[in-house]
């Protein structure tokens, strides 16, 4: 019945156009997946699922490839970035939307949007010249000194490291998370705030009991966008992570990510298996982002269902 309405008279051309656009999008995603799949056949045949769990990357002598260090590096740096960026980003959004007076909130908001638009290379340069020295000396040494018994802070301390990459990524996704979270908070009707305040809630109670649950699905969306940026970030990470096949758990060691190995070695891939191993890494990265987004959509959908009421018959 809804389809019948959809196709009725004037809506028809509009319907076709939008359908076409949707199909094009679907086709693009499918096309990318198929291309990655086909062009990694050699590698997939040679290493099978082992590719995901082995860590040898030896194009020079034995010509064996395993993606584990890169998968680990991508996951670890992205997770670190989110852990750091979520509280700060959402906190900044709360400040901008709820606490700051207009004369402060507007310019600050603009600044954050500007930060979100800064090209990655620039962040990379900043990471190289500011972050890495800071990570090497005061921060890394201090973490290793006080918490060195934890595997994630094991020595020796390097400047270019997963920690540096995670920190840089957190700085990069911060504006995205803050800007979108702020818009989410702005979109919450004032009546919600008034309703809680009128019951004697404090400002803080309004924020965490009313606004955050109300905006939960939107805030999740903001985080997912940030995560997407972190997973795929290439150049800036490549500049600060050290590009090393180290597989230890330590954040203070250099590492490698999926995006950076592709960027670093694609032009040097001198034989087909090498090239296709890199393409397979691209395929894994693609599948990973797709899965994470799917999972996030599911989460958002569940949150929304819980907050926006039972469906009536």
């Amino acid at each position: 019945m809804r389809m019948a309405r959809f196709w009725r008279h004037g809506d028809r051309p509009f319907g076709w156009i939008t359908l076409l656009a949707a199909l094009l999008l679907l086709g693009l995603v499918g096309g990318i997946a198929v291309a990655l799949w086909q062009n990694s056949a050699l590698s997939r045949d040679a290493f099978g699922l082992e590719f995901l769990v082995t860590s040898r990357w030896d194009p020079a002598i034995d010509r064996v490839f395993g993606a584990l260090p890169f998968i680990q590096g991508t996951l670890v740096t992205s997770a670190l970035a989110l852990v750091l960026a979520i509280p700060v980003g959402v906190g900044a959004a709360i400040f901008l939307a709820e606490l700051a007076p207009g004369w402060l909130s507007r310019p600050l908001g603009l600044l954050i949007e500007l930060l979100a638009a800064v090209p990655s290379v620039v962040y990379g340069l900043w990471g190289l010249f500011v972050l890495i020295p800071a990570v090497a000396k005061p921060l890394g040494v201090a973490l290793n000194g006080s918490l060195g018994f934890l595997p994630i802070f094991e020595g020796p301390v390097f400047g270019p490291s997963r920690l540096a990459a995670g920190l840089l990524l957190s700085v990069m996704v911060l504006p995205t998370i803050a800007a979108i979270s702020r818009d989410v908070l702005f979109a919450i009707p004032n009546s919600q705030r008034e309703g809680a305040l009128a019951l004697g809630a404090t400002h803080w109670e309004v924020v965490h009991q009313v606004l955050i649950p109300y905006g939960a699905s939107g805030l999740l969306g903001a985080i997912i966008l940030g995560l997407g940026r972190a997973l795929g970030e290439t150049i800036a990470v490549t500049m600060v992570i050290g590009n090393n096949l180290d597989l230890s758990a330590s954040l203070l060691h250099p590492g490698y990510t999926m995006a950076s190995i592709i960027a670093n070695e694609f032009t040097e891939a001198t034989f087909d298996l090498y090239l296709e191993a890199l393409i397979e890494i691209g395929l894994i990265l693609f599948a990973m982002t797709l899965l994470i987004n799917l999972f996030a959509q599911l989460l958002i959908w569940r949150v929304r269902r819980r907050t926006v009421g039972q469906v009536r018959v």
Partner: protein, 288 residues
Amino acid sequence: MTLATQHDSGQSSLPAAGSAAPPRPPGAGPASAPATRIAIHNLTVHYGTFCAVRNVTLDIPANQVTAIIGPSGCGKSTVVRSLNRMTDLVPGARVSGEAILDGENILRPEVDVVNVRRRIGMVFQRPNPFPKSIYDNVAYGPRLHGVRDRDLDEVVERTLRGAALWDEVKDKLHQSALALSGGQQQRLCIARAMAVEPEVILMDEPASAIDPIGTLRIEELIADLRATYTIVIVTHNMQQASRVSDVTAFFTMDEDRAGYMVEFGPTIEIFTNPRNQLTEDYVSGRFG
């Protein structure tokens, strides 16, 4: 008769400034002169440089329904919102004058607003339930104020019964409040306000977004609540004011658009025998 002698708090006197309240205008207030719950004295509200309400002096009688009527923009909402300090949320709003509740001027900046809002609840024009379950909506206020979880069931049931909503929702307490009809949502919001056991409930056009049957039920509820609460209701609907209220205050605007109170008295008199020509014009529909 001064404000102090009518005060029902049991406290012997108001602060010095409050005791300087003038005698009430002749004929104002119901004949039986019930105790005053909130004594408003010279309330003036500015939004920036704009004076929205000027020198309102008005005794809200305890356990009665006070209606505030008047043309759009005359400051009805402003008066009501200043009583539970919602005006604090508006940047640039300045409130002066007094509103004495139990001997304390609740308009003073130093007053604990959380406490004021707990004692003076508010229901808004559009139902604004939280996107939580019916139960959690009612329990929200009590939880805020430290009612323990094991006592909540009882509080929720008692409140919903009090709001005449229990029978309609008892089987779906844990479903989203947003699935209720608009009228039910508004009564839930009234219940939510009642759950913190305020002394006064302010209602700013509580039925204006509700269908006629829903409106009727809200009016019935207001009549019931009168025994327990002091109610102030802003309404655009003359019939509604005459049906639900005991006393009525009529507001209008000066040339400079500042709102002021024209007349205050028993609802019957305001509607049948107003003293002021402006009131008469308004209640008989000859306004504007």
